[in-house]
C-alpha cells in the first residue's frame, strides 16, 4: 500500500471514525468502504500484523506436525520381525459356494444380518434386495427413487434396513412380510446430507445411524425423529467409508476419505481424536481389527495398510508390484489373521496380516469388486461386484493337525 497514490475525490464522514475528513475507497472482504487517511493507515498496519501472525501460526503448525511425524516413526520393532516366530499359513482352498444373481446392474454395497445368513445388497439401478443367502431366496426388494445406492446396512434386530446414495439421504425401511404392505410406504427418511451418501451403519441398536457423505462430513442420527445428534467435520474432501469400533467402553469410529486421511472420531464430542495420513490416494474402505486396537484401510493407491491406535501409527503395508488397481473393500477374518481385500481389477487378494505376505488371489468376478464383508460368525465372506453378482466364499478346512500348527505362538 506504500507506493500507491490516492485520489481524494470524496469529502465526508469516515466509515470507521465518523469524523468529517477527506475519504478514500478501501476494500475489506470485497466490500467497498470509505475511510479517512488515518483509519486507512491503521487498517494497513493491522493487515500487516495479521499476516505476520498468520505466517507465525502456519510455521508453528508445520513444525508441530513435523515433530509428530518424527515421533510416530520412532519405532522399536517392525511387525515382520515380531511375526517371524509365527508359522506361515498353508494353502487355503477358497471356493465360491453361492452366487446371487438378481441385481440387474452393478452391485455397490452389501451388509450381513446378525443371523449370519441373510444379507442386504444395493445396486446402481436403485434396487435394494434382502436375501437369505443360504437358500439364495430373495425375501424383500425395494426400488429407491435414486440411482447409485452406494450404502446399505442391516439393522441389529434384523427388522429393518437402511440405504442411500445419490439422493443425499439415508432412509430406513422396516422389513415386513405383510403381502398387502408396500415396503416403500413405511420408508423413513433419516439423514440429510448435501452430497451423495457413501456409507451408513447402525450403532448397537436400531435407533441410531451413523452416515458418511461426499459432502465431507459424517453424522450420527436418531432414527425415530430424524434428528441430527452429532456431526463430524474435519475431512478435507468426500468421506468414503466408516466403521464402528468394537471396543469395550468407548464410542469411537473411524472414517476414510478422498483427502487420503483416516480419522478416528469420538462419537460423544464430535472431535477427531486421531488422524493418519500415509495413503497416496483416496481411502475406499476402513475396517477395525477384531480386538479394536487397530484398523485396516484399502485405497486407490493399490495398497492396504494397518494402523495401530495405541502406537498411533501405520504398522504394516500390504502391497505387491503386480497389484496396480485400487482396493475397494477390506475385511478381517474372525481371528484377525487374514485380511480379505477386493480390488478394482476384479480380484480378491487374501493377506496374512501378521506376516504381510499375500496368501492367495481369488478370481471369480468379471468386473470390479465393489464390496466385501466377512459373515458375523466368520464362516464365509461375501463379495459384491460390478458384474451384477454377489459371491459367497468359504474355505475347505485344512486337516485338524495342520490347523493347530499354524498361527500358534508355542511352535515355530
Amino acid at each position: 500500500m506504500c507506493d500507491q497514490t490516492f485520489l481524494v475525490n470524496v469529502f465526508g464522514s469516515c466509515d470507521k471514525c465518523f469524523k468529517q475528513r477527506a475519504l478514500r475507497p478501501v476494500f475489506k472482504k470485497s466490500q467497498q468502504l470509505s475511510y479517512c487517511s488515518i483509519c486507512a493507515e491503521i487498517m494497513a498496519t493491522d493487515g500487516l500484523h495479521e499476516s505476520e501472525t498468520l505466517a507465525a501460526l502456519r510455521s508453528e503448525a508445520e513444525s508441530l506436525k513435523g515433530k509428530l511425524e518424527e515421533e510416530r516413526w520412532l519405532q522399536d520393532l517392525e511387525l515382520e520381525a515380531v511375526a517371524e516366530r509365527v508359522e506361515a499359513l498353508g494353502q487355503f482352498v477358497m471356493k465360491t459356494r453361492r452366487t446371487l444373481k438378481g441385481h440387474g446392474n452393478k452391485v455397490l454395497c452389501m451388509d450381513w444380518c446378525r443371523d449370519k445368513r441373510r444379507i442386504v445388497s444395493s445396486s446402481q439401478d436403485g434396487k435394494v434386495i434382502v436375501w437369505d443367502s443360504f437358500t439364495t431366496n430373495k425375501e424383500h426388494a425395494v426400488t429407491m427413487p435414486c440411482t447409485w445406492v452406494m450404502a446399505c446396512a442391516y439393522a441389529p434386530s434384523g427388522c429393518a434396513i437402511a440405504c442411500g446414495g445419490l439422493d443425499n439421504k439415508c432412509s430406513v425401511y422396516p422389513l415386513t412380510f405383510d403381502k398387502n404392505e408396500n415396503m416403500a410406504a413405511k420408508k423413513k427418511s433419516v439423514a440429510m446430507h448435501t452430497n451423495y451418501l457413501s456409507a451408513c451403519s447402525f450403532t448397537n441398536s436400531d435407533m441410531q445411524i451413523l452416515t458418511a457423505s461426499g459432502d465431507g462430513t459424517c453424522a450420527l442420527w436418531d432414527v425415530e425423529s430424524g434428528q441430527l445428534l452429532q456431526s463430524f467435520h474435519g475431512h478435507g474432501a468426500d468421506v468414503l467409508c466408516l466403521d464402528l469400533a468394537p471396543s469395550e467402553t468407548g464410542n469411537t469410529f473411524v472414517s476414510g476419505g478422498c483427502d487420503k486421511k483416516a480419522m478416528v472420531w469420538d462419537m460423544r464430542s464430535g472431535q477427531c481424536v486421531q488422524a493418519f495420513e500415509t495413503h497416496e490416494s483416496d481411502i475406499n474402505s476402513v475396517r477395525y481389527y477384531p480386538s479394536g486396537d487397530a484398523f485396516a484401510s484399502g485405497s486407490d493407491d493399490a495398497t492396504c495398510r494397518l494402523y495401530d491406535l495405541r502406537a498411533d501409527r501405520e504398522v504394516a503395508i500390504y502391497s505387491k508390484e503386480s497389484i496396480i488397481f485400487g482396493a475397494s473393500s477390506v475385511d478381517f477374518s474372525l481371528s484377525g489373521r487374514l485380511l480379505f481385500a477386493g480390488y478394482n481389477d476384479y480380484t480378491i487378494n487374501v493377506w496374512d496380516v501378521l506376516k504381510g505376505a499375500r496368501v492367495s488371489i481369488l478370481f471369480g468376478h468379471e468386473n470390479r469388486v465393489s464390496t466385501l464383508r466377512v459373515s458375523p460368525d466368520g464362516t464365509a465372506f461375501c463379495s459384491g461386484s460390478w458384474d451384477h453378482t454377489l459371491a459367497f466364499w468359504a474355505v475347505e478346512p485344512a486337516p485338524r493337525s495342520v490347523a493347530l500348527a499354524c498361527g500358534c505362538l508355542c511352535c515355530g
Binding site: K29, L54, L64, E71, D308, L409
Partner: protein, 467 residues
C-alpha cells in the same frame, strides 16, 4: 478476518488422475525396454511386415517373471492392459483381450493412451465411423451401425464437415506405407474400443459418481484453521504412545488365541454350512441355545467383553452375580447401554427410571458407585442426555471386570458349564450329488414376535482383547 487460500490447498490443485493408469503405463513402458523388455519381433500379416510386435504368450511370460506371479495372474494382468487399450492385437482388432499364444500384439502409441483423458467427442467418433464406412462397405458392426445412425441424426448439421474430414483423413492415409496405414488403423480402432465399448464388454472408463466435487475441499487457510491444527498436533504429541513391539505382540496373542475359533482358519464343527449345506452349526450356536458348545464357553474366558457379548454367557453371569448379591451391577450396566443407544425421545423417561431404580437414595437396586462419581452423575441428571450416565457406567463396568468376572471364571458354575458343554461331531461332506441335503430356510428375524420388554441391545461380534 482476512483469509488466504494457500497454493497447496488440498482442493486447490486438480485431482490426480486415476493412479492405476499411470502404473499401467509404467509397466507398458518397461515392457518396451530394448534390453529388459518383452521380446520384439516383426510380424508378417499377409504381404506386409509389421515391426515391434510381441506375442501374447511372451507378454504373459514376461509379466509372470517380472512380478513373480503365476501364469494365471499374469494373464489376468495382461488382459487388463489390453482392455485399457495399452496393447492391441494386430489381427482381429475388434476385441481387446490377451491370448497367451502366438497371437501378435503391439503397444499403443502414447498419443492414444487412456490417461490422456480426452473427451472422445461425438464429432471424432462420427468421423471415425464414416471413415470405416467409406473404406469398406459393411465394415461397421451392429453397435457401430446404431451409433452411426444416431450420430447422423444428432449432428446432422455438421455432417458435411464429418464426411469431408473423413475423406481427407483417408486421402492422407493413402500417402503412407501400407504397414503404417495398418498400424494407425489398429491404433485408432483400439482407442475407440476403449472409449465406445461394444455391448457386453466392460467399460473400463466408468468410475462411478464423481468425487472431490464438494466444497469441503476448498479449505480456508485462516488463522482459525492453523489454531485448530496446532491444538490437534499438541494433543497428539502429548498422548502416551505405546511401543509398537507391545502392540504387535498383542496382535500375535489375539490371533493365536482366536485361531481355533475362526472357521476360516480352523474349520468349524460339525461342518461349515456353506460347504455341506447343513445348517446344524447355526442351530447349535443359536443366540439363546440351551447347551452352548465348548468353544463358545471357552471364549467367555478371553475377555469380559466376549462374555457380555454372548447372550448365553451374559445370562449365566447374571445368575452368578445373583448368587453374589451384586446382580444390580449388570442390570445397571444394561440399562445404561439402553440409554446410550436408544431413541432420542426415550431419554428423559429412561434416565428417570434408572435413577429411581439404581441411584436414588434407598433405591431398590442401589449400585455402589464412589461418592465423587455419584455426585457428578446426580449433578448431570439435572439436564439428562444420552451420555449422562457414562461415568457411572464405566465405574460399574470396571468393578465387574476387575472383581466379579475373574471370580466367575474360577467359580464352580463356570467349570461346570465347561464340562457340560458340547463338542459337536464332524459331519463329512456328502460326496454324491443325489444325497444333496435340502437347504433349510430359517424364519427371518423380521418375523419373530417382539417380546413385551425391549430386548437388551445386542452387541457387535468380536470383543475387546485384554491388553
Amino acid at each position: 478476518m482476512a483469509t488466504i487460500t494457500g497454493p497447496g490447498t488440498p482442493g486447490g490443485r486438480p485431482r490426480a488422475q486415476s493412479p492405476h493408469l499411470s502404473k499401467m503405463e509404467r509397466v507398458v513402458v518397461s515392457m518396451q525396454d530394448p534390453d529388459q523388455g518383452v521380446r520384439m519381433r516383426s510380424q508378417r500379416l499377409l504381404i506386409t511386415v509389421i515391426p515391434h510386435a510381441v506375442t501374447g504368450g511372451d507378454i504373459v511370460e514376461w509379466l509372470a517373471q517380472k512380478f513373480c506371479i503365476s501364469e494365471e495372474e499374469a494373464l489376468h494382468l495382461g488382459d487388463l492392459l489390453a482392455q485399457h487399450g495399452y496393447i492391441y492385437p494386430l489381427r482381429e482388432p475388434h476385441s481387446l483381450e490377451l491370448r497367451p499364444n502366438e497371437t501378435p500384439y503391439r503397444f499403443q502409441t502414447p498419443y492414444f493412451w487412456t490417461s490422456t483423458l480426452w473427451p472422445a467427442a461425438e464429432l471424432d467418433y462420427a468421423i471415425y465411423l464414416t471413415k470405416k464406412n467409406i473404406r469398406k462397405q459393411g465394415a461397421l458392426v451392429e453397435h457401430e451401425k446404431e451409433h452411426y445412425d444416431q450420430l447422423h441424426k444428432k449432428i446432422n448439421h455438421m455432417w458435411d464437415l464429418v464426411v469431408m474430414q473423413a475423406r481427407e483423413q483417408l486421402r492422407a492415409a493413402k500417402q503412407r506405407r501400407k504397414g503404417d496405414r495398418l498400424v494407425i488403423a489398429c491404433q485408432e480402432q483400439t482407442y475407440w474400443l476403449v472409449n465406445r465399448p461394444p455391448p457386453g464388454a466392460p467399460n473400463v472408463l466408468e468410475q462411478g459418481p464423481e468425487r472431490g466435487s464438494c466444497t469441503a475441499s476448498r479449505v480456508q487457510m485462516s488463522s482459525d484453521f492453523y489454531k485448530r491444527e496446532i491444538e490437534f498436533s499438541r494433543k497428539a504429541l502429548g498422548r502416551t504412545r505405546v511401543k509398537s513391539s507391545i502392540c504387535l505382540e498383542a496382535y500375535l496373542k489375539f490371533s493365536s488365541q482366536h485361531s481355533l475359533h475362526d472357521p476360516i482358519m480352523s474349520g468349524c464343527l460339525p461342518s461349515n454350512p456353506w460347504i455341506t449345506d447343513d445348517d446344524t452349526y447355526w442351530a447349535m450356536n443359536a443366540p439363546m441355545v440351551a447347551v452352548p458348545t465348548k468353544l463358545r464357553v471357552e471364549r467367555w474366558a478371553f475377555s469380559f467383553r466376549e462374555l457380555l457379548d454372548d447372550p448365553v454367557g451374559r445370562a449365566h453371569f447374571m445368575d452368578f452375580l445373583q448368587k453374589e448379591f451384586s446382580a444390580e451391577n449388570l442390570s445397571f450396566w444394561e440399562a445404561c447401554e439402553e440409554l446410550r443407544f436408544g431413541g432420542q425421545a426415550q431419554i428423559p423417561d429412561l434416565v428417570d427410571a434408572v435413577y429411581q431404580q439404581f441411584l436414588a437414595p434407598g433405591a431398590a437396586r442401589w449400585v455402589n458407585i464412589d461418592s465423587r462419581t455419584m455426585e457428578r452423575t446426580l449433578e448431570g441428571l439435572r439436564q439428562p442426555h444420552r451420555y449422562v450416565l457414562d461415568d457411572a457406567q464405566l465405574h460399574i463396568y470396571m468393578l465387574m471386570k476387575k472383581d466379579s468376572y475373574p471370580r466367575f471364571l474360577k467359580s464352580d458354575m463356570y467349570k461346570g458349564l465347561l464340562v457340560e458343554a458340547v463338542i459337536p461331531l464332524e459331519t463329512k461332506r456328502r460326496v454324491f450329488p443325489f444325497m444333496w441335503k435340502r437347504r433349510h430356510s430359517s424364519p427371518s428375524p423380521a418375523l419373530l414376535p417382539t417380546s413385551g420388554e425391549p430386548p437388551a441391545p445386542s452387541s457387535a461380534a468380536g470383543g475387546g482383547g485384554e491388553g
